[in-house]
């Protein structure tokens, strides 16, 4: 295998005008090997090869064209998927990248959802204000519940975050004057920026697409700069990170904050999609479902969060389609879904702990030198 090589410009040498490889050159199988860059900025780009840029264009075009060709049901599914991607990204920042296991995903989504519900319905404030407030409130509460991470790791931290889940659920049920208790808050309006309303499913789709793109780009950039690197360093070896100058506690809290901002935003968007918030949308099974997403998709990988969210979100639909075509229309899809969910998690943990993201990387590696891949 050939590794990518960055050419270091010799200081003092006359600079030649650099010729960039044209796009078709990078598509055809290479005789010479490796990816060459003539500047560090090029080498540090998110997409370093034309093939990967081309894939990105294809995905973008598909995403934009999708609501024009798909039916109402599928557009609704896509909206829910995009919200799940934002939530899974948030959880992966904390669990996959920083190594702080949390089972309070449902609680943090609840904080976001209830914040926007209370602000828009009870107080009558606009969406553009309530959405960032939902994110920031969740970030603050997430950071507070991140304090035990100073002393606790692994399973013990998991139990501490379980406390967060239980406390938030309990507060929602008991603070009836604020949250309407078990009835939940309904009458939430679809997002609107002044006169610009996103009540239509397709309009909502483009708003969600916008948020997903921002969320992905921000996360991708975060993990190629100082703060994201510190997160990963804490996951891999926290003592070495501290000796290299990383204030471990501060960055752990920051990870809880950033992660919770994503999760709270996802919770708020979900509230404006379903138009209701009530306690059962945010119980512990939601937390487990999201943990399943990032395990199946790939811990510590941005694309992994996307694949995992897609896998879990599309699972019920895929299963009911399958049982339908197999003539098993009477099958209880809900039970089947639970079974497949459990099997998928166990299967991935045993056979591919790095998830779908790793499988996809392996496939790309295989075809990189195809058909001479030996």
């Amino acid at each position: 295998m050939c590794s990518a090589v960055a050419v270091k410009p010799t200081p003092g040498a006359p600079t030649r005008p650099q010729r960039r490889a044209s796009w078709w050159e990078s598509l055809r199988p290479r005789i010479g090997c490796g990816v060459y860059h003539s500047t560090y900025a090029d080498d540090m780009a998110l997409r370093t090869t034309t093939a990967s840029r081309l894939r990105l264009v294809l995905v973008s075009v598909t995403a934009v064209m999708f609501p024009f060709v798909a039916g109402d049901y599928w557009v609704g599914e896509a909206n829910r998927l995009y919200i799940a991607i934002i939530g899974a990204l948030g959880l992966n920042i904390l669990v996959g990248f920083t190594g702080q296991i949390s089972i309070a995903q449902g609680a943090f989504m609840a904080v976001g959802g209830y914040t926007t519900a209370i602000m828009t319905v009870t107080l009558g404030l606009p969406f553009w204000l309530s959405l960032p407030c939902a994110g920031l409130t969740t970030a603050a509460i997430g950071a507070i519940f991140g304090v035990p991470s100073l002393r606790l790791k692994g399973l013990y931290l998991l139990i501490a975050t379980l406390a967060a889940q239980v406390i938030v659920e309990w507060l929602i049920l008991r603070m009836v004057w604020l949250t309407k208790g078990p009835n939940g808050i309904y009458g939430i309006k679809p997002p609107a920026f002044g006169p610009l309303e996103f009540s239509d499913r397709r309009a909502f789709y483009f708003l969600m697409l916008f948020f997903v793109v921002i969320a992905i780009l921000f996360a991708a950039n975060l993990f190629r700069t100082k703060i994201g690197r510190a997160f990963v360093a804490i996951r891999d070896q926290d003592i070495a990170a501290s000796v290299a100058g990383v204030d471990v506690f501060k960055y752990k809290l920051l990870a809880f904050g950033v992660s919770s901002f994503y999760v709270g935003t996802a919770g708020a968007l979900q509230a404006h999609d379903r138009l209701i918030v009530s306690p059962e949308y945010f119980n512990i099974s939601v937390s487990i479902e999201y943990l399943g997403m990032i395990i199946i998709g790939g811990l510590g990988s941005i694309s992994g969060a996307i694949y995992g969210a897609a896998f879990i979100r599309l699972l019920p639909t895929a299963l009911s389609l399958m049982t339908g075509t197999l003539g098993l229309a009477g099958t209880n899809v809900g039970v089947l879904q639970q079974a497949v969910f459990g099997l998928a998690i166990v299967g991935f943990l045993i056979f591919e702990p790095h998830g779908i993201a790793k499988i996809w990387r392996d496939v790309k590696d295989y075809f990189k030198l195809w058909p001479f891949s030996y």
Binding site: N221, T225, K226, A233, D236, A240, V246, D247
Partner: protein, 297 residues
Amino acid sequence: MGEHGEVQAVLQRANGQVGSIQLEAQDVHLRFGGVVALAGVSLGVHQGEIAAIIGPNGAGKTSLLNAFSGLYPITSGRLLYDGHDVTRLKPHQIARLGVARTFQNIELFKGMSVLDNLMLGRHIHLKSGLLSSGLYWGAARREEVANREIIEDVIDFLEIEAIRKRTVGTLAYGLQKRVELGRALAMQPRLLLLDEPMAGMNAEEKEDMARFVLDIHEERNVTIVLIEHDMGVVMDISDHVAVLNFGRRIGYGTPDEVRRDPDVIQAYLGEETEPRKATLEPSAVDHAADPRARARG
């Protein structure tokens, strides 16, 4: 023998032969419950020297280094850096003073690439905040590229160009040791603490590592404190050697002085049953560092 070293240090400072004291431990005690790791160690490291800490296994060498870098809060005593009291500082604050270190058992970020490991070494020099990092815009982008150039110099220096994009966990042991040194160098430290940089290496790799240490010392003007069991290396490259045993400093001085020090010889070889002219030659100490040899002695 403690007095001897202090006097030497004072004399040498008076003669202006070496720089001022950069790192100093004053009567440092470190206890974990009933276990005494350090029992009153005093030690001064001069600016611009290579100081070695040696001693049998369990003597407290690594504990002393961990105390210096703030990982173990000491029970009593004082730690001074450039004359300032740093006893209660946290590890990341010590790092900001320009102190870098490596570990006995490699402590790299195994899931990250070599480049990212070195870039993490730049952490204290990077300033971009959450928003500008997330947008990778303007200053954050320029900062990343500028610091990439600095770590490329380190990569050139350590001759690890070919592995710069490899994930660290997949690298061979010797290369990991080198990457860990690289991460410390990326911090552009003024003081480098090396905990057994040559452990588990063959002769050739040891030679390479010794050359790197000397080059770092000379070209980058970095003060170096190293723990090492290979007496050949220690005696060859260090300006001063401190000997620890059971949490106490039993010897201090130039390599030649330490080699002849009767207390040190006793610690390494045990009591003499019959009078014999014993001088500690490098090869002899090599065996002595082996705990089995010590048990026999």
